[in-house]
């Protein structure tokens, strides 16, 4: 019999976020009313955040297997084979709501959480990327100064939090992206991707085994912080009272995490560890029940033995605490002293708090009294699964704003400058310079100098490339096409460095899943990701779903963020985006062989471009059509060219179109510029700023031009020589008439200084 002081009613269950049906299900599983502790356990494990109850049925449609995939979704992180007996362990996760409530700690613990997921698997973290979304930093139109000021504070806190945690822990923060949109004003997105490397035979999994084996608690003491972080913060919409949820945000200690990393890797190396899992969302509850459930065994723990930061904690509080920097591990019986010695040398608490049992139950005791006794499988795996209603089609506004192209003689320089200084296009170097992106001395290509980060693997000739991408504006217009573009752009970015994309991880940020139109977006995005990942050969190995990104009933733009991992067989072949030599040929690679004049459909596409938004204030139309065969061909072509050392630089064409891409190749070069002439029947504005996919700008030595054209033809890629790298003025002509021109530095200044300027003078 479970003793409980509180009468458990359906109302109390509802306060815990459990529906009436879910509560009935709990009663049925237990064959009785739950105790208060058990109610807490179910509520947090069956929360959206932990159980994926609304997304599960859809996520099944994603491709998750492939020749290199060692571990797909379902573990702490995905694992892919990268040769030489090594594997890459990687995953992306969100920490959105905590970062709004308390930006610094929210972002810091977001980094901490994903790092633990990586080293839990026996991998040493080698890189972090952050995909961030904020509201506008400057007041204008419907953005008030108060709102802009808050957005600036949130951005500053998030950046400092990421820097605080990653820099101290000693993992390089090597890339990611930052976008701004009004919809993120009250719901910023902080998605953190971490990559680790492990020896294949030293991988660890979170599967408890061996009745009688000790359950050992290691790391920080348990406090009252973060209780219900997963259920109340991550699985509910926000309103005016959200600031009151600040106590639900955890507090991070990167120093403790660094000790935990070193001690865990050392302990794993002894062979005395059977299984290990970090105490992240839902803390002790999820780590114990999930390890037991995956291993088909039970776990019995005595809460008196759990190291506690404060006195008088109830079983409910101990089981639900989300105090950071804690791990739960199962050791071989009899080998406890070896494990304890290692943790004690690193100055960490390591305490036996229980044992593995045979009966498949999670049994929790305090002062010898049983306070919870539940089949582990029921908590971890038998949560509710919902087929939420999906709206028939995405909402469409009936009237699309018109947009006229500028006359052929118009001066586009001013628009170009405005675009370069826009938040979306402007350099993010000010942010990256606050992250230690070099620690561990593997950063072959750091942030801002190539389309993806490139991390060498010291023991081998190889390197890994990583990029994160996601375009909420496009997903808002078409979730399916936008999601496909996110995959394609991330893969293209990876390929621009010369790496072959091999796997993906995704972080799906959406509104309230109980709204059919949100589920429509979600379902479409999943289909888009599935198609694109199948088409590009990048199976999804894991990730995270973040629903309820709504404040005051206003959902964010659907924002699937894709992280794509690529492999470079020879790190020496890595390619950056900056031009290298005066006199090199500038070549536009594109996946469409047949010449095409601008169609009415493309005119619609142009209305969804960054240019349309920044210059005309228009967000309408549809994302550019996407052709996965062309994307795949371009990727293969780029990889083949890099492999032959034929590329001096490569940069994909995305936000801001061809003109911005060309300018960026100059900005990150050492004093080089571009002289380009484009031949076209289309309006100059369209040619310069449209954002259709499957395109990249490369620069090549004049003598290798013929070879480049030959290779491109093999992949059915059009290679069009559009100009040359120079030391002169930046100049783009359209049909022989100069449309954009000026000293590179005059453009660079705007691009480089804009973000810092809007933060300080906004």
């Amino acid at each position: 019999m479970i003793e409980t002081d509180t009468k458990i009613t359906a109302e109390l269950a509802a306060e815990h976020g459990l529906t009436a049906e879910e509560f009935t299900r709990v009663q049925k599983i237990l064959g009785r009313d739950p105790s208060f502790t058990e109610l807490g356990i179910f509520s947090v494990m069956w929360s959206e955040h932990c159980s994926y109850k609304s997304s599960k049925v859809h996520l099944k449609r994603l491709p998750t297997s492939g020749a290199r995939v060692i571990q797909g979704p379902g573990e702490n992180a995905g694992v892919v084979d990268i040769g030489d007996g090594l594997c890459a362990v990687f995953k992306i996760e969100s920490h959105n709501h905590p970062s709004f409530v308390e930006p610094f700690q929210g972002a810091a613990t977001g980094v901490g959480g994903i790092l633990r997921d990586i080293f839990t698997m026996g991998a040493r973290p080698v890189a972090v990327l952050d995909s961030l979304r904020f509201g506008p930093l400057e007041a204008s139109g419907r953005v008030t100064e108060e709102e802009a000021a808050r957005n600036r504070r949130i951005l500053d806190g998030v950046i400092r939090g990421i820097a605080f945690y990653g820099n101290c822990f000693g993992v390089p923060t090597v890339g990611g992206e930052i976008q701004f949109e009004h919809c993120y004003s009250r719901n910023p997105l902080v998605n953190v991707l971490a990559l680790g490397i492990a020896r294949r035979e030293e991988l660890f999994f979170a599967r408890a085994k061996g009745a009688g084996n000790p359950v050992i608690y290691v790391g920080a003491k348990t406090g009252r912080d973060g209780i219900h972080g997963a259920s109340l913060l991550a699985s509910a919409e926000f309103d005016e009272k959200s600031q009151q949820k600040r106590p639900n945000v955890q507090v991070g200690d990167p120093f403790m995490e660094k000790l935990l990393l070193e001690a865990c890797l050392e302990a794993m190396h002894t062979g005395a560890i059977v299984a290990i899992q970090d105490m992240g969302a839902a803390g002790l509850t999820s780590s114990s029940s999930e390890m037991a459930s995956r291993g088909g065994v039970g776990i019995e723990i005595e809460l008196d033995l759990v190291p506690q930061r404060e006195t008088g904690m109830t079983p409910y509080e101990i089981m639900l605490s989300e105090s950071q920097e804690r791990m739960l591990l199962i050791a071989e019986r009899g080998r406890e002293p070896e494990v304890f010695e290692i943790f004690s040398r690193w100055g960490l608490d390591a305490v036996k708090i229980g044992r593995v049992s045979e009966d498949g139950r999670l049994r929790v005791l305090q002062h010898g009294r049983t306070v919870a006794d539940i089949p582990a499988h029921a908590i971890a795996e038998e949560g509710p699964v919902y087929r939420r209603p999906v709206a028939m089609s995405e909402k469409r506004s009936d009237s699309e704003p018109r947009m006229e192209f500028a006359p052929a003689t118009a001066d586009l320089n001013e628009n170009f400058r405005k675009l370069l200084g826009s938040a979306a296009v402007a350099s993010k170097q000010w942010v990256f310079g606050q992250y230690d992106y070099m620690v561990r001395t593997n950063t072959r290509v750091g942030p801002g100098t190539a389309d993806a980060a490139v991390i060498r693997i010291k023991e081998t000739k190889r390197a890994l490339a990583l990029s994160t991408d996601g375009n909420g504006r496009w997903c808002q217009l078409s979730a399916r096409a936008g999601a496909m573009h996110a995959v394609a752009e991330a893969a293209r970015n990876v390929a621009c460095t010369g790496a072959r994309p091999i796997a993906a991880t995704n972080c799906l940020n959406f509104g309230n899943p109980e709204k059919p139109e949100v589920m429509r977006q979600f379902s479409d995005a999943v289909d888009g990701i599935g198609d694109a990942c199948r088409g590009l050969g990048t199976p999804v190995t894991g990730g995270n779903v973040s629903f309820y990104n709504e404040t005051l009933g206003q959902a964010i733009d659907p924002t699937p963020v894709l992280g794509v991992l690529g492999i470079l067989e020879d790190a020496e072949c890595a390619v950056g985006m900056g031009f290298q030599h005066d006199g090199d040929a500038i070549v536009l690679l594109q996946g469409f062989i047949e010449a095409r004049a601008m169609s009415p459909e493309q005119h619609r596409e142009f209305r969804s471009s960054e240019y349309a938004r920044t210059i005309h204030g228009v967000v309408a139309g549809v994302p550019p059509a996407i052709d996965l065969h062309a994307e795949k061909a371009l990727i293969d072509c780029l990889v083949a060219l890099a492999d032959e050392h034929a590329l001096q630089s490569a940069h994909d064409v995305s936000d801001g179109g061809l003109a911005v891409a060309l300018a960026e190749c100059c900005f990150v070069s050492e004093g080089l510029s571009a002289e380009v002439n484009l031949q076209t029947d289309d309006p100059a504005e369209f040619v310069l700023f449209e954002e259709s996919g499957a395109r990249a700008i490369i620069s090549v030595r004049p003598e290798s031009l013929a070879r480049v054209e030959q290779v491109a033809a093999q992949y059915r890629i059009e290679a069009q020589r559009i100009g040359a790298v120079t030391r002169g003025e930046f100049r783009i002509q359209v049909n022989g008439a100069p449309r954009l021109r000026g000293p590179v530095d005059s453009f660079r200044q705007i691009w480089a200084g804009s973000l810092e300027h809007s933060l300080h003078n906004g």
Binding site: N167, F255, K258, Y435, M438, V439, T441, R444
Partner: protein
């Protein structure tokens, strides 16, 4: 010749220093645990970068009390070569092996980027393989690298030629814009009066392989190797000539 890299809890550039010495320069190197006074017969000691003890209280303030620091202190006072990089420099300041203190960076932000350093003196075992006035391109990565000391200490540093590295422009000019953190007189590295203890905020161990962007950090370690080789030579000479 053997190098030792001290591992404090929270050191995170220990592996990088180890790789620079062992992997790139192919010299014997081992880790020295902070909790032990045993420095394993090393001929040079590196206090690496990172966040020893989480930088709690003050950077380096707790690390200086680690048992290994008693040995490092003895080793230094006997003329052994000790280099502190970044957090290691901060620890040397706290330990009193070098004069001065670190303030938070001007601008109060963590800074990670390449800077240019001018070699101010080659009369140290850490710069003897460089040219005076040579410009080194080496990255920094710190929150507290704003070097400060009082006027007397500064006068002494100057008088004794202890200022080893200064932040300058790529052309070697002293300019405010070239001083990333606001350090007094653009000081990036100093040695002690006896010249065998050296601290620098930039990370030479991150600039030892061209694919990563620079090899300008090599000269620091090559200087140490040169000076250790010479002193080993002298010892051999002494031993040979002693009986005569």
């Amino acid at each position: 010749m053997k190098f030792g890299v001290v591992v404090f809890p929270g050191s995170n550039c220990d592996h990088d220093a180890f790789h620079a010495i062992g992997g790139v320069l192919q010299k014997p190197v081992e880790f020295l645990w902070h909790g032990s006074e045993d420095i394993a017969g090393c001929d040079a000691i590196i206090l690496p970068g990172g966040f020893a003890f989480g930088d709690y209280l003050r950077t380096g303030a707790i690390a200086r009390f680690s048992p290994v620091m008693r040995s490092v202190d003895r080793f230094a006072r006997n003329g052994g070569l000790v280099i502190g990089i970044c957090n290691g420099f901060q620890i040397l300041l706290e330990a009193g092996l070098l004069p001065g203190a670190m303030l938070r960076n001007q601008g109060l932000r963590f800074l990670c980027r390449y800077v240019h350093l001018r070699v101010e003196t080659t009369d140290t075992p850490f710069t003897c393989a460089a040219r005076r006035g040579q410009i080194l391109r080496i990255p920094i990565a710190h929150m507290e690298g704003n070097y400060f000391c009082d006027e007397t200490a500064l006068a002494e540093l100057e008088a004794n030629d202890q200022i080893t590295l200064r932040y300058t422009t790529p052309e070697g000019q002293l300019e405010e814009s070239a001083n990333p953190n606001g350090s007094l007189n653009a000081i990036a590295g100093i040695c002690n009066r006896e010249r065998n203890v050296f601290g620098m905020m930039p990370h030479p161990e991150r600039a030892v392989e061209s694919p990563l962007g620079s090899t300008d950090g090599l000269v620091v370690f090559q200087s140490m190797i040169k000076s250790l080789t010479q002193s080993a030579g002298r010892e051999t000479e002494v031993r040979v000539t002693a009986p005569v």
